[in-house]
Amino acid sequence: MERVAVEKKVLNENDRVAAELRQRFAEEGTLVFNFISSPGSGKTLFLERTLEALPKDLRVAVLTGDIQTDNDARRLARVGFPVQQITTAGACHLDARMIDKALAAWAGERFDLLLIENVGNLVCPTSYDLGEERKIVLLSVTEGEDKPLKYPGAFFKSKVMILNKIDLLPYVPFDIQAARDNARRINPNIDIFETSCTTGQGLESWNAWLGLQIHLNRREAVVSR
């Protein structure tokens, strides 16, 4: 018997494609966010509200992943930016190759911002790098405030947490301070936004932050060119 050292990442192939995507996004000046959450936390409506607030001359594209149906793509496309549905046909997450394949349909186009809505799942998507600049995790107040502790990977790997559906706080036993504390236990540097897509509360500061990130990313792309 002979033991051969391999020393490779299990997701080596995904990471290789993701690194290529990241390189391409940097060259083209595209800011890419990968949104992760449980099913039903309000990702699609959050993205609709986000798209509605963006300047119409900004080049924005959206990829939305689901196991079945193109319902989300149809909702998001109403805002007017190009949207593609990725149906994973059973897979519980998006991988880098799916992103690469979907982007081929937009070959020759350059985007300032690419928003990726991952499959609703707090576990599997955290393992797959999509070449994004950052992962953003959504947690709604109809879930438990201990979600960050139960699913630490998603909160550990995200740079931003959106605490969504805060208009429902009076009606649900959700301790928002505990949710913040739990997220910061997992990831002390996570940025937190608290939003309601029904009342619009908190969206202004999220939109301002997003605008700033787009501006900074553009400037970086110009400097490196």
Partner: protein, 114 residues
């Protein structure tokens, strides 16, 4: 439930590795799986067994080296085990600590038989 995809990636890597040693048969593959890698060990073992059974890799066994989370303090440099999600430095209480272990999802080795 992405363990099936993970197991499938592991088997692809084993086939590539074994291909470098013609005439040999892979008998065991060793993984390092971090506490926070998002992979469930039992589920991975189940998927691995299901894929290996009656395949060209029949008889291949899986070893998992499970790694607990460790952080290093960026201020004082101390390395410590993260227990109960406590990421503050136990020595200087700084909250600027970074993960140095526990997120692994690596193939460490393959064992081959003539």
């Amino acid at each position: 439930m992405h363990e099936m995809g993970i197991a499938s990636s592991v088997l692809s890597a084993v086939r590539i590795e074994a291909g470098r040693y013609p005439g040999s048969r892979p008998t065991r593959v060793g993984l390092r799986v971090g506490e926070w890698s998002g992979v469930d060990r039992e589920s991975l073992q189940f998927c691995f067994d299901a894929l290996v059974m009656d395949s060209d890799l029949s008889g291949l066994e899986l070893s998992i080296d499970y790694r607990l989370r460790r952080n290093r303090c960026e201020r004082c440099g101390v390395e410590f085990a993260v227990e109960n999600y406590e990421t503050h430095c136990p020595q200087c209480r700084s909250d600027h600590t970074v993960a140095i272990g526990g997120t692994e999802l690596d193939i460490a080795f393959v064992e081959l038989e003539e």
